[in-house]
C-alpha cells in the first residue's frame, strides 16, 4: 500500500502505461461512449441505407482522428486545466469559454435524456413480453433520472468493481451477440446478401448519414481527457485517444455488421434499440436477455456519467461567474455540485418525455458538433498567438493546418447533413446559442473576474 513521503514526486512509470493500462485500450471506448453502439447510430441507416451508414461511420472516424490530434496538442500544453472549457478561457476568451461550457452541458444532458428514454422503452418492451401491453414508460424515465441524480447528489461511493462489472457486461454483450450470429457461416444467422441494398438515396443520403455517424464516437474526446494538477499529460495522450477511436471503430463495424445482417434497413433505420432487436430476431432467448441487460446497463452507466460531467461543467461556469454563482455551490456534507445536479434534472426529463429519440440525440450531436467546430479555430489561434518554440508543448501534432482544415470541412458537411433531415432543430439550436451568447455578452460579462481567466505562465501572445 502506498505511503506519502514528504515532497516526493509520484513514482515514475512508463509514460505510455500512465495512459494505457492493460485493459485501457478497449476500455477507452466504454463508459459514456459505448451506449452509442446500442442505440442512435442506426438512425444513419434511415438516412443513407446500411452501406451509407457504414461509410458515414468511417468518414466520421476521420473527423475524430483530427479531433484527437488537435485536442492532444492543446491539452498537453494547457497543463493542469483539462478540456476544451479551460482551453477556450486561455486561448480565445470568456465568451468562447461560456459557449464551450454550454456545449458540454447540452451535449451530456441530451445524451442523458436519450439514455433515460431508452430505459423507459426497454421497460415497455419487457412489459409487452410478459403480456402487459400499453405500459407507460414515463414513470421509468423519471425514476431512472431521479435515482441517478440522487446517487450523484449524495456522492454515493460507487465502487470500482461494481461499475466495472456493469460496463464489462455491456461490452461483452456486443461480443457475445457477434459470436452468437456465427459470422464465419454466412447465411446461417446473418443474411447480408438478402438485406444489404445499394444506396437508397444516393450519395446525398450518405452525406445525410454523417449526422448520426457522430453518435458512434460522441464523447471520446472527453473520455481521454484527465489533466493532472502538476504534470502535463504525457506524449502518449494522442496515442491513447487514437486507440480509443480505433476501438470504437472496430466496435461500430461489428455492431453494423450484426445489425445489417439481421434487420432490413427500413426497420433498422428507425429502431430505438437496434442491437436488442437484432438479438430478438435471432430467436435465441439467451441473446435476447443478454442484450436486454447489456443495453440497459450501458444506458444507465452512460446516464450516470452524463449527470456527473454535465453538472460539473455547469458548476464550473457558476464558479467562474459565467452563470449565477448560486450554481457554484458545493453541498456542505456530500461535497457535490448539488444545485447544478438538481437544476439539470427537469431539462433532461422534459426532453426524455418527448419520446423522440432521434431528435433528442440530434440536439446532443449538434452541441458536440459545435464543440468540434471550435477546435480548429482554437488550434489556429493557439499557433498564431503562441507559435512553435514560444512555449513548451507536450505534443505537436503533424501536418498543421491540414487536420484543422479537414476537421472544419467535415464539421461543415455534417451541419449540412443535419440540415437535410433536422433543419428545424439546427435552427433552434443556433438561435439558442446566439441568444445565450447575447445574454452573456450584454448582461453576464460584467460579473466575470476578467483577470482570473488566464492562469498559465505563458508569455504575452504574439501581436499583443
Amino acid at each position: 500500500m502506498a505511503s506519502v513521503a514528504p515532497g516526493a514526486a509520484p513514482s515514475e512509470r512508463l509514460a505510455l502505461l500512465r495512459v494505457l493500462g492493460p485493459g485501457h485500450v478497449w476500455a477507452l471506448g466504454v463508459g459514456i461512449v459505448l451506449v452509442g453502439e446500442f442505440m442512435g447510430w442506426n438512425f444513419s441507416v434511415a438516412k443513407g441505407g446500411a452501406m451509407g451508414s457504414l461509410i458515414a461511420c468511417w468518414v466520421i472516424g476521420l473527423l475524430y482522428t483530427c479531433v484527437a490530434m488537435i485536442d492532444s496538442e492543446v491539452t498537453s500544453t494547457v497543463a493542469a486545466a483539462g478540456g476544451q472549457y479551460a482551453q477556450a478561457k486561455h486561448i480565445v476568451g470568456p465568451l468562447m469559454a461560456f459557449n464551450v461550457g454550454l456545449y458540454l452541458v447540452m451535449a451530456y444532458t441530451m445524451l442523458e435524456a436519450g439514455n433515460a428514454l431508452i430505459v423507459g422503452d426497454l421497460m415497455k418492451v419487457l412489459a409487452e413480453g410478459t403480456g402487459y401491453a400499453d405500459l407507460d414508460p414515463h414513470p421509468f424515465i423519471v425514476l431512472a433520472i431521479a435515482l441517478l441524480a440522487w446517487l450523484n447528489y449524495r456522492g454515493v461511493f460507487m465502487t470500482l468493481t461494481v461499475n466495472f462489472v456493469i460496463t464489462a457486461i455491456a461490452f461483452v454483450s456486443i461480443v457475445v451477440l457477434f459470436l452468437g450470429t456465427q459470422p464465419w457461416d454466412q447465411g446461417a444467422v446473418l443474411h447480408h446478401e438478402d438485406l444489404l441494398t445499394g444506396l437508397p438515396y444516393g450519395w446525398i443520403g450518405v452525406i445525410a448519414a454523417f449526422q448520426f455517424g457522430i453518435w458512434f464516437y460522441l464523447g471520446i474526446e472527453g473520455t481521454c481527457q484527465a489533466a493532472e494538477e502538476v504534470r502535463s499529460p504525457p506524449r502518449s495522450l494522442p496515442f491513447g485517444t487514437m486507440s480509443g477511436i480505433i476501438t470504437l471503430l472496430v466496435a461500430a463495424s461489428l455492431t453494423w455488421y450484426v445489425a445489417a445482417g439481421l434487420l432490413p434497413w427500413e426497420y433498422l433505420g428507425q429502431a430505438y434499440t437496434p442491437l436488442y432487436d437484432a438479438a430478438r430476431v435471432t430467436g435465441s432467448t439467451f441473446l435476447t436477455v443478454f442484450l436486454f441487460v447489456g443495453t440497459l446497463f450501458s444506458a444507465v452507466a452512460s446516464a450516470n456519467g452524463c449527470i456527473n460531467d454535465a453538472a460539473r461543467a455547469w458548476f464550473s461556469m457558476g464558479r467562474d461567474r459565467y452563470m449565477p454563482v448560486w450554481f457554484g455551490a458545493v453541498h456542505p456534507r456530500y461535497r457535490t455540485p448539488y444545485r447544478s445536479i438538481l437544476f439539470l434534472i427537469p431539462i433532461a426529463v422534459s426532453f426524455s418525455f418527448t419520446g423522440l429519440l432521434d431528435q433528442v440525440i440530434t440536439f446532443s450531436i449538434l452541441s458536440g458538433l459545435l464543440g468540434y467546430t471550435f477546435m480548429p479555430i482554437n488550434m489556429w489561434m493557439f499557433r498564431k498567438k503562441w507559435p512553435l518554440g514560444s512555449i513548451r508543448r507536450g505534443y505537436i501534432h503533424p501536418f498543421h493546418p491540414l487536420p484543422a482544415l479537414v476537421l472544419l470541412a467535415l464539421c461543415v458537411t455534417t451541419y449540412f447533413a443535419v440540415f437535410l433531415g433536422y433543419g428545424a432543430q439546427l435552427l433552434a439550436m443556433m438561435c439558442f446559442y446566439i441568444a445565450a451568447s447575447l445574454w452573456f455578452a450584454f448582461h453576464r460579462y460584467r460579473f466575470v473576474r476578467r483577470g482570473d481567466q488566464f492562469t498559465m505562465p505563458w508569455p504575452r501572445p504574439v501581436g499583443y
Binding site: 506519502v4 476500455a27 478540456g83 457535490t336
Partner: protein
C-alpha cells in the same frame, strides 16, 4: 420468464452485496489514513466522517492543530485530487485574511480564495502561477510573510497558504486519482493508504513557522 426474473434479481442482489462489502472496506481503509500520525500531535482526537476520510485534531507546539483531507472531484476533465489541509488554529494578530493559491482553476470550493475580493500582486520570487487575494487592503502588510513561503510554494505538491486572524493553513496535494478508473468511470480511486508522519511533521512545522512570522509582523506593526 420466471428464470430470467430470478436471474435478474439474483444478479441485482449480488451487485448490491458486492457494493456494500467494497464500500465498507473502502471506508475502513480511509479510516487508517492517520494511523502513523496519531502520536505526532499531543492529545490526538480522530473525527470519523465515514465514508469520507477522517480528521485528525490535537495540539502542536501549543497550538490547536487540525489535519483535514479534502476530496475534490469537481473540476471538469481533471483527475480528482485529495488535498491535505494542515491548520494551526491560534490567534495570529493578522489585520486581515491573505490567501495564496497555486494554479487556481476557480473550482477550489475548499479555499476561501474566491470570496476574497482584493487581488494583490504575487511577490517576486514566488511562482507566477500563485494568485494572491485578500479581504482588506491592510492584509497586504502580510506579504513579507508570504514571500518567505517560497520554499513551500515552489514544492510540486503545494497548493495554498492561508493566513487569517484566527490561524494559518497550508494545503498540499496528497494524492491524485488513478487515471484508469477516472477515464473509464469518472471514479476517484486513490492509492494513498497511510499518511507519512514525516510529511505531516514538515507541514505542521511549516505552519508553525508561518504563524511565528505573522505574529512578528503584527507585533512590529503595533510597535
Amino acid at each position: 420468464m420466471l428464470a430470467a426474473t430470478t436471474l435478474g434479481l439474483a444478479g441485482a442482489t449480488g451487485l448490491a452485496w458486492l457494493w456494500r462489502c467494497q464500500h465498507q472496506r473502502a471506508g475502513e481503509r480511509r479510516e487508517r489514513l492517520f494511523d502513523r500520525c496519531r502520536g505526532l500531535v499531543a492529545s490526538p482526537s480522530l473525527v470519523s466522517r465515514r465514508p469520507d476520510y477522517p480528521v485528525l485534531r490535537g495540539r502542536w507546539r501549543g497550538c490547536q492543530a487540525e489535519l483535514r483531507p479534502v476530496l475534490d472531484g469537481l473540476a471538469v476533465r481533471k483527475l480528482p485530487a485529495l488535498w491535505l489541509q494542515v491548520s494551526l488554529l491560534a490567534p495570529t494578530g493578522a489585520p486581515g485574511t491573505l490567501d495564496a493559491l497555486s494554479r487556481p482553476l476557480g473550482g477550489e470550493f475548499w479555499s476561501p480564495s474566491s470570496e476574497l475580493e482584493i487581488r494583490l500582486a504575487t511577490p517576486s520570487g514566488l511562482p507566477e502561477t500563485v494568485q494572491v487575494r485578500a479581504d482588506h487592503p491592510r492584509a497586504a502588510s502580510l506579504l513579507p510573510a508570504l514571500a518567505r513561503q517560497r520554499a513551500f510554494l515552489t514544492r510540486a505538491d503545494a497548493k495554498e497558504v492561508l493566513i487569517t486572524p484566527k490561524g494559518v493553513r497550508l494545503v498540499v496535494l496528497l494524492a491524485e486519482a488513478d487515471r484508469g478508473p477516472y477515464l473509464l468511470l469518472r471514479q476517484g480511486h486513490f492509492a494513498v493508504d497511510r499518511l507519512d508522519p514525516d510529511l505531516a511533521r514538515t507541514l505542521l512545522d511549516g505552519a508553525f513557522g508561518l504563524r511565528e512570522e505573522v505574529l512578528s509582523l503584527a507585533q512590529h506593526a503595533a510597535a
